[in-house]
């Protein structure tokens, strides 16, 4: 199976570290904008500021799992192990953002709703999504054969990513404690700008993380291939 896969060269970092530095600065600017330039909400006061981290984390989590879906499907189609590694890199970052969404949501929930957690459809489906991807990452650790690992991971990755649609629609399909999606009609213009800036900052940060994790996963696989090739030559 390594006959085809050894033909690729691990991707280089190139200018990505520069992109990362830009992203961090953009994120800091976005947070400063949100914290200093938007007024307190009429109901929740300054607790409103949490939307500048909770909401971008949730949005970008969805994008990240869409990337998992894309590369998992492409792996099953083309059988290029780099697609499997790209899906794995996105899954790691997506799980991080998923955990962040849950944690920040709980921190938001306690002072506004009065509870840390409620078993409504939105929160439960988000937790299920998190557990599926914890399972995805565990699966990758448990399966040693790279091809089998890639196939199984692709299947779990696709099933998990479908759950994103359920998380999104949960507040429309079912009666939940969590409110429905906000939109520029329901969010005052003074909050929309900071929300958008921070959403893009999270998006860029996600792209950066996925890219750098993809590079390192490729390096690890390339090292495996080199070790196998050396062992075969030596035998």
């Amino acid at each position: 199976m390594s006959t085809q896969s050894t033909s690729w060269v691990p991707p280089r970092a190139g200018r990505w570290p520069l992109f990362g530095a830009f992203t961090i600065l953009f994120l800091i600017a976005g947070q400063v904008l949100g914290l200093t330039q938007s007024p307190a909400d009429r109901d929740m006061g300054d607790l409103e500021k949490i939307i500048y981290v909770h909401v971008p984390a949730a949005w970008v989590m969805s994008v990240t799992f869409a990337i998992v879906m894309f590369y998992s499907l492409r792996y099953l189609w083309k059988r290029d192990e780099r697609d499997d590694l790209a899906a794995a890199a996105a899954a790691e970052v997506g799980t991080l953002l998923n955990g962040l969404t849950l944690a920040l949501g709980m921190i938001f929930g306690k002072p506004t709703w009065g509870v840390w957690w409620a078993w409504d459809a939105r929160l439960t489906s988000t937790l299920v999504l998190f557990l599926i991807f914890i399972g995805y990452l565990s699966l990758r650790e448990f399966v040693d054969d790279p091809e089998r690992r890639a196939q199984w991971s692709a299947a779990v990755g696709i099933l998990g990513a479908i759950n994103v649609g359920i998380v999104y629609m949960s507040v429309r399909w079912w009666r939940t404690l969590h409110q429905m999606q906000s939109s520029p009609e329901t969010v005052d213009a003074t909050y929309v700008l900071a929300l958008r800036v921070n959403a893009f900052a999270f998006l860029f940060l996600m792209i950066y993380f996925v890219r750098r994790r993809y590079e390192s996963l490729c390096l690890v696989r390339a090292a495996d291939h080199a070790a196998e090739a050396a062992a075969l030559r030596g035998a």
Binding site: D41, D43, E48, G114, S182, V187
Partner: protein, 160 residues
């Protein structure tokens, strides 16, 4: 891995590919059907006052969540016993709720709330937990307005 396997697998993988894709499509379809179709509208976090009243006697003395708006003008706070009473309304029916302790910060007239507890035969809902259901709106206060903080007036009331 051995050399024989690596010579055979690419051809085998190409043949098995449509089957693998078909299998994934089937599993995804079943998974989707279970979640999209099977669950349908059954996941309800709370009942409205009208729905709870419609249950009749089967709605009494069972753990249930009741959701709606705090009916303006019905909030009463007893600073001695820390008892909080208010009506929850869905616009058609009202249910009187009895709670204890200071409410969450965002509690006020007209606010969406979900209360956990039991609906008594005396038609008073005994709440053991009070949650705020926030809308999807975020607005700054209008000119001259301050963020509403009813809980502060309640606590002030208790000190007076």
């Amino acid at each position: 891995m051995n050399i024989d396997e690596s010579a055979v697998t690419p051809a085998k993988a190409t043949k098995r590919r449509p089957i693998a894709i078909a299998a994934v499509v089937v599993v995804v379809g079943v998974f989707g059907w279970l979640l999209y179709g099977g669950l349908d509208k059954n996941v309800v976090f709370f009942l409205t006052p009208q729905e709870l009243l419609a249950k009749g006697t089967s709605g009494y003395d069972v753990p249930v969540r009741l959701g709606g708006q705090v009916k303006p003008g019905t909030v009463k706070w007893d600073d001695k016993t820390l008892r909080l009473t208010f009506d929850v309304t869905d616009g058609q029916s009202d249910i009187a709720v009895q709670s204890s302790g200071a409410p969450p910060q965002m509690f006020r007239d007209g606010q969406g709330v979900v209360v956990e507890g039991r609906f008594g035969r005396d038609h008073v809902f005994n709440s053991t937990g009070l949650m705020i259901k926030h809308s999807n709106e975020y607005r700054p206060p209008k000119a001259g307005e301050k963020p509403q903080e009813m809980y502060k007036t309640l606590i002030k009331g208790s000190g007076a």
